[in-house]
Amino acid sequence: MGSAGRVVLVTGVSRDLGRRFARSLAAQPGVARVVGVDAMPPRGDIGDVSFVRADIRNPVIAKVIVKEDVDTVVHMSVIATPGTAGGRNAMKELNVIGSMQLLAACQKAPELRTLVVKSSTTMYGASNRDPAMFTEDMGPRRAPRAGYAKDVAEVEGYVRGFARRRPDVRVTILRPANVIGAHVVSPLTSYFRLPVLPTVLGYDPRLQFLHERDLLGALRHAVATDVAGIFNVAGDGVLTLSQAVRRLRRPTVPLPSFAIGGVGSALRSSRVTDLSPELLALLTYGRGVDTTRMREDLGFEPAYTTAEAFADFAAPLPVTGGRTERVLARAARALPDPEQVPSVLPVPGGAVRG
């Protein structure tokens, strides 16, 4: 927190959220410079952000941190989808090895004051033994054995280790709920963009969303404030999957839980979307996180509730279903509006009944 303003290093700027966060951070007062790091150049406009092409899996990152006099590192490079990184192995390497290298580099940077890590509520898992609302002190009921959830759990473990070794650095871990928004590409958003949604028969999970703007806001807030700790970040309230799908007006195909795995792999091989085991668990059991600490300790208030964030996401999507709704709307037009009806309704032929 030097007087000239802070120098912030942001990892993972080749992805859309990382790039936009770096840009919005550069415009913040009190931030002198933002250095964006990624193995790939960002696709869009990065504005005032200076981009350094470096792989965080490589010790070169330590030199970047020292050379640029970085005092704040925002680690956003823990990715949920392999995407451009390649397969699952490349993703795991980027997540775990990349984080280890980054933390090792941070440890050697004496100027470093703040580390903000974007984790995910995925690390809580989703099972039938889950409490309704996870607080930050709770862990997953079953330790994740594979996939993104395991990566996230391991990364958080390393970050906690780093916090022990460098007590002078303020470490903040944000666990955002499923981020949703028009620009977000994640397993869950691509699931909701399917024209017909496969669901798990007989389950109606609770979901929580965080609007992409709120994610950026929370990260900016975490950089600006001086509160350390682990915080869940989610919009208010929950939506059940059936509610979300009805608001989307998209038809669903309920499939028994044993069949949906096959559909998932078919969708994966056709590159439509990736119904990963974590996503399937979420679509079966759902998850809720408690955000009391976010409000009271971190002092961040999301602008969108879960329902509003979802409505904002759903608005530009074309409607592929909703026939029942239209039929009902037509029938309702023929009837008086129950909201504004005179107290005594003239009933035609009411005398018949006396």
Partner: protein, 389 residues
């Protein structure tokens, strides 16, 4: 058809139907009414003409309306216009206005005199459901669907089938958090559902049950449980709900209570580690003991198939005197008479700070609750005249 000619079956006597002659059959001749003028008109030519099929059709078609045939030929008997479908009464029969009237009448029967308004309200409700425009709380509790469907469908069962009688409802706090602790029995957790309905109907509050993780593993059951307000029986959820001022219901016996054999009826099983007590003590809410009599007899459990249960991952596979034997009919619960007695609340807000972590105190309170429930059960059993009355 009073004047219809009687035609002997078979082909004896006069040429009857379908004898292959060039003439129309006798039935057709009889129906034509006034003699043999058939040849001149097209209808007659058709019926008299080519074949058996035609001759058979003609009487069939004409026979349906002999009065019309008799009345029509008045002007000139020889030149009767052919009877076409349009001349008859419309076959569809019921005009649209009649349909509308019938619908209105039906709607009035169902919704009463303000049927339009009621129907509009119902449609608005349906639209709200279909568009997902309703609220659920953080546990997934859907108040609207619980009130409108679950409670409405369970209420007749509670009132008419089990004739649930509630005693001591004044012991349930009107507001604020409270923990209702009940005995558990009946092979299937019907007692939980009936308690929910009874509490809602007597106090207007919703009981939020704590369910085993098995409930939430099962499809449909888990989803319905969440919608009706249940959540997982764990300390975190219990405490959270109690602090939120909810009326929480817990059945500490769990599967040991619900799946005990009939011979051990009304014998309370172990109350676990007393986790419910520590949750109540932490939240500082009263514990209301509830004793349910009658639930034990609905499905008398006489046997179990442990190996199959283990295979399916269930705690037990019930065998009742009727269940696998009568098939689905065996699933109908016996109509026992139910008594629900709520005991005096046990206050927990007087304990010190760390009382919830004091195992001695927790066990003491647990035992106190257990004893209260057990004693009330015995008293109620003494008062009961018979199982079904």
């Amino acid at each position: 058809m009073g004047d219809a000619e009687i035609i002997p079956i078979g082909t004896r006597g006069r040429p009857g139907r379908g004898t292959g002659t060039q003439q129309p059959s006798s039935a057709a001749r009889g129906l034509a009414g006034s003699g043999r003028s058939g040849g001149s008109r097209p209808g007659g030519a058709r019926s008299g003409g080519p074949g058996r099929q035609g001759t058979e059709k003609a009487p069939g078609g004409g026979g349906a309306r002999p009065p019309a045939g008799d009345a029509d030929p008045a002007p000139t008997a020889g030149d009767r216009p052919p009877v076409v479908t349009a001349d008859r009464e419309p076959r569809g029969g019921i005009p649209a206005s009649d349909w509308l009237a019938a619908l209105q009448h039906g709607a009035r029967e169902v919704f009463g005199d303000e049927w339009e308004l009621q129907l509009a309200r119902f449609l608005a409700f349906l639209r709200r459901r279909v568009t997902g425009d309703y609220e659920v709380d953080e546990y997934g509790f859907d108040r609207e669907v619980t009130e409108r469907f679950l409670m409405a469908s369970l209420r007749p069962i509670a009132d008419k089938w089990f004739r649930v009688e509630v005693r001591g409802a004044e012991n349930i706090p009107a507001d604020g958090g409270a923990l209702v602790v009940s005995n558990h029995s009946g092979t299937i957790p019907v007692d939980g559902l009936m308690t929910m309905v009874s509490i809602h109907d007597t106090t207007g509050r919703f009981l939020r049950p704590l369910g085993a993780d098995l409930v939430f593993r099962l499809p449909v059951v888990g989803a319905v449980a969440r919608k009706s307000g249940a959540t997982l029986a764990c300390n975190e959820d219990a405490e959270r709900m109690l602090r939120g001022g909810e009326l929480v219901g817990v059945w500490p016996e769990g599967f040991k209570g619900i799946g005990k054999p009939y011979s051990q009826r009304y014998k309370l099983q172990r109350f676990g580690r007393g986790g419910f007590v520590s949750a109540a003590v932490r939240a500082g809410v009263p514990i209301v003991p509830l004793s349910v009599v009658g639930a034990e007899e609905i499905y008398p459990l006489v046997g179990n198939v442990p190996s199959l249960a283990r295979l399916l991952g269930l705690p037990y596979i019930p065998i009742t005197p009727f269940f696998p034997l009568l098939g689905p009919l065996g699933l109908v619960p016996l109509p026992s008479k139910w008594l629900l007695e709520f005991g005096e609340p046990i206050r927990t807000d007087e304990f010190d700070e760390g009382a919830a972590d004091d195992p001695m105190l927790v066990f003491n309170v647990t035992d106190q609750v257990r004893e209260t429930v057990q004693q009330t059960l015995y008293t109620l059993l003494m008062q009961r005249q018979s199982v079904f009355r």
